[in-house]
């Protein structure tokens, strides 16, 4: 252990110390030596990172986490889950004593009364030949030694975030050789801050400067719209200026940053002389490094400080640069709040309204040609809402993830998924439906002879209240026969609904078996972990997360209703064609029907196919632990809605994914296994609501597990053990 290399001042960093100080650290050191004004900076080197990792055996733990199954087979939700567990390792393992002491001795004195900026500086950032800007974390306005140490850990962990893992895979960089240096800098609070590109990505003869009032984080995080100047690259003459609304700026909060209204007496924009000075400064930096530079700067009065400089990796918009997509995996609190308003106030009410309008239309008066037009319209609306689903609803799911990350950073729980306990018990549409089902089952259970009457279709014999409740259920949710919400087919007696009520009624009455979690205590602990000034924000974050979590269930229900209405028109058109294939407008009907996407194909390789005549069986399959607990039982493989009808109490639900439109069997299940992966996917959420062991992300679940197999589900470790049924 080389103690003298753990933490270094900028002056001790040489230009070729990339492996030790990372790209940013080396660049700042060069700027400092060349006489540019840079913030006071200490570099926590990659030696310190490696020492922390080695002392806690983290390298092996991380690689074990990432090698549970082939990386290419992991969905990004699973990668996020793995990243969350890895982040927990960095936050919860102790600093080695010598590193702790070295950090105390070198960082505490200079930052005892001085707010800090904690920046990532990974060696791969410059060796990759691709920009890592924004991929790793940086934190502005960190106060106090304990907070500085905490944020160093967060920057280390950001080397293993979902975005960073995916991006490195894209670039073909091996995770095992990754390391991270961290810059601990004095915070410089400028009047104005910005970025300068010495070469415009759009025009090689021009350079670009963008600026915002206050801290540069407003620009970097996209919180404040910047002013923009295009300059002649050689003369620095201003070619054009795009103004921006100067009403807000990002300023230091007690800890961290916040968006604040710009005071009336704030400086009225940057002078042209300051712009030219920034441009000239950026060109001198370009000369120093010998390549076009992306320079971050801040100005106090007329005094310019260089915050960082890095090479411009592309001088033209590159279609191959996927960084934007990886960055989109991380959404800010502010961005998510805006999305919430759009979804809750606009999109969801519009979906409900449209589904109701579509349901109210009677096709009987429609001519064939009118019906064909109606089918086309509904297919189009279904596609529209499907697009909205991907564009707005899926990104909004990040609200729960953002909360999870902040909860874990704040509380540092032993279980990295403890945060999910604060999100449960939220009113979800499918759970409301399940409660209605449970009430119907209780009604049947409590009235002698009711089960037999229901089974034999003697509905008139049922008590009036039970009959009324049953009618209400059918009116609201259908008979559950087709797997699409609101759809009803066939006789009620033969329906999945009646079969399910009888199965629920036959077992002892029980409410959703949530494990006893003191939600209120967890919420109190979370809120109390913040300063009094920050508690409203923490409560808002929790509200946002609950809304996001709930929507992962409700959006599917609402989308299902729209889809059901499209199917209703399709069925009507198909029936007319079947009735009279030679009708005058048959072609129009056929053409309209061809527009409806086919139902989701069944998995191409099911266990029945695989196991037939084969010597191969799975003994133990690996997924991700998504709901704690251990359960054994017979497997019930569900690949189509009609499979739900056979579901019996105590069986293990094996499926591609728990569709929100099939959650009604979950109360009967002993455990849930899904081919799709992720801790926060719908099935995992519902399984946890019922306290069921759950394993998700088992790629071969449908290939190797057959209905009737004896299955053990270990929801703690994320494994499924299979004993084939006797044949």
């Amino acid at each position: 252990m080389s103690d003298d290399k753990l933490i270094l001042p900028l002056a001790a960093i040489r230009p070729d110390d990339i492996a030790l100080a990372g790209g940013k650290g080396c660049a700042l050191s060069r700027l400092d030596r060349a006489g540019f004004q840079v913030p006071f900076t200490m570099v926590v080197t990659t030696v310190a990172y490696q020492h922390f990792v080695d002392a806690n055996g983290l390298q092996e733990k991380i690689l074990l986490e990432l090698n549970r199954k082939p990386f290419a087979e992991m969905r990004w939700e699973e990668i996020w889950d793995a990243a969350l567990r890895i982040r927990g390792m960095f936050m919860n393992h102790p600093l080695p004593t010598d590193l702790d002491q070295a950090l105390q001795q070198t960082l505490s004195p200079p930052f005892v009364d001085r707010p800090a900026v904690i920046r990532s500086s990974a060696p791969q950032e410059d060796s990759a030949g691709a920009s890592f800007a924004g991929i790793h974390e940086s934190y502005v306005n960190v106060r106090g030694h304990a907070a500085v140490l905490d944020h160093i850990r967060r920057v280390w962990a950001s080397l293993w975030s979902d975005g960073a893992l995916l991006y490195r895979q894209e670039l073909g960089l091996a995770p095992e050789s990754s390391a991270m240096a961290v810059l601990v800098q004095a915070l410089v609070v400028g009047d104005y801050s910005g970025v300068a590109f010495t070469v415009s990505p759009m025009h090689a003869d021009q350079s670009v400067i963008e600026a915002v009032p206050g801290l540069n984080q407003g620009l970097v995080d996209g919180l404040v719209a910047p002013e923009r100047w295009i300059l002649d690259r050689n003369t620095h003459a201003i070619v054009s200026h795009t103004a921006a609304d100067r009403s807000q700026s990002v300023v230091p909060a007690d800890q961290g940053i916040r968006v604040a209204a710009l005071p009336d007496d704030a400086p009225q924009g940057l002078s042209s002389s300051t712009i030219e000075a920034v441009a000239a400064l950026a060109r001198r930096i370009e000369s120093l490094f010998g390549s076009p530079q992306d320079v971050e700067w801040t100005v106090v009065d007329a005094d310019i400080t260089v915050l960082q400089a890095r090479p411009v990796t592309t001088t033209a918009a590159s279609e191959d640069d996927k960084r934007g997509w990886y960055l989109s995996l991380r959404r800010s609190y502010e961005n998510l709040q805006q999305l919430r308003v759009k979804i809750e106030d606009d999109l969801i009410p519009a979906m409900i309204r449209e589904a109701e309008e579509l349901a109210a239309i009677d096709f009987a008066p429609f001519s064939d040609i009118e019906l064909a037009a109606e089918v086309r319209r509904r297919v189009d609306r279904n596609q529209h809402w499907s697009n909205v689903y991907w564009a707005d609803f899926i990104p909004y799911a990040h609200g729960a993830r953002l909360f999870g990350q902040i909860y874990n950073d704040t509380i540092k729980p032993e279980n990295p998924y403890e945060f999910a306990d604060l999100l449960t018990d939220t009113p979800m549409a499918s759970l409301k439906r399940n409660r209605h089902l449970e009430a119907l089952a209780a009604g049947v259970r409590d009235v002698p002879g009711a089960a037999d009457d229901l089974r034999r279709g003697r509905m008139d014999n049922l008590p009036a209240s039970l009959r009324s409740s049953l009618d209400t259920f059918v009116a609201q949710y259908g008979t559950l026969s087709s797997g699409i919400t609101g759809d009803s087919e066939g006789a009620l007696t033969e329906s999945t609904l009646v079969r399910l009520i009888l199965e629920l009624a036959a077992r002892p009455g029980q409410s959703p078996a949530r494990q006893s979690v003191d939600h209120e205590a967890l919420v109190r602990r979370f809120i109390d972990a913040f300063s009094p000034e920050e508690r409203d924000w923490a409560q808002s974050l929790l509200d946002l997360a609950r809304s996001s979590y709930r929507l992962r269930d409700d959006d599917n229900i609402h989308l299902g209703r729209i889809e059901a209405q499209a199917h209703r028109a399709v069925r009507e058109a198909a029936a007319r064609l079947a009735n009279d294939p030679t009708t005058e407008d048959a072609d129009a009907l056929r053409e309209a029907l061809s527009l409806m996407p086919p139902a989701k194909p069944a998995p191409t390789e099911t266990a029945e196919k695989t196991a037939h005549g084969s010597g191969l069986q799975a003994r133990q399959l690996v997924g991700q632990p998504a709901g704690p607990g251990l359960a054994r039982g017979r497997a019930r493989v569900v690949t189509a809605p009609q499979d739900l009808k056979a579901f019996q109490s105590g069986e293990i639900l094996i499926c591609d994914a728990v569709d929100p439109n099939m959650t009604f069997v979950v109360p009967l299940a002993a455990a849930v296994v899904e081919r799709r992966g992720g801790m926060l996917i719908h099935g995992a959420i519902i399984a946890r609501e019922y306290g069921l062991p759950c394993v998700t992300g088992v790629p071969e679940a449908l290939q190797f597990i057959r209905s009737g197999d004896h299955v053990t589900v270990d929801g703690y470790l994320g494994i499924v053990i299979i004993s084939p049924a006797a044949t």
Binding site: Q59, E60, L63, L64, N67, R68, K69, T610, G613, S614, G615, L616, Q617, A618, R619, Q620, L621, V622, E700, Q703, L717, I719
Partner: protein
């Protein structure tokens, strides 16, 4: 390559790439015993050949209880073994080879283990074959696939 072919390929690669296996036997009193043996395997995965002195504990155990297990793995005694290494456990019934079957097995055995020629040809050495019923292939720490030979 379908799933079964993939698993067979992994097993075959492991058995041809490794020289030693851990043989598990059981005494007449029910005591388990494990020992390292040099082995060779049938290309169709139906059996594994090994040799032992007739004076050994394993030979005595197999004389009482012919059912046995063999473990073959490619771990390298490094930390990454836990997720990178692969292991195969073969379960089956052993028999001592004699006559032409023994001669053929010895020839093959010497091809893989030329330095063991004197040992395997000694009159006191027994050449045995584990007729494999099932293989358990373990990789990525906890994934276990079961391949039944001859089904």
């Amino acid at each position: 390559m379908d799933a079964q072919e993939t698993v067979r390929h992994h097993i075959h690669t492991l058995l041809t790439g490794q020289r030693l296996a851990t043989l598990s036997t059981c005494s007449a009193e029910g005591h388990p015993y494990a020992s390292l043996v040099a082995f060779d395997s049938d290309s169709d995965l139906s059996g594994m050949i090994f040799a032992t002195s007739r004076a050994t504990r394993k030979f005595a155990n197999l004389s009482h209880q012919a059912r046995a297990a063999m473990l073959v793995d490619n771990s390298g005694n490094v930390k990454s073994d836990i997720y990178a290494a692969m292991a195969v456990t073969a379960l089956g019934v052993t028999t001592e080879l004699t006559g032409a079957a023994e001669d053929a097995a010895v020839t093959r055995y010497i091809l893989k283990h030329p330095h063991m020629a004197k040992f395997v040809q000694a009159p006191s050495t027994a050449v045995l074959r584990l007729a494999v019923d099932v293989y358990y292939l373990v990789n990525r720490f906890q994934k276990v696939m079961e391949y039944h030979v001859g089904r």
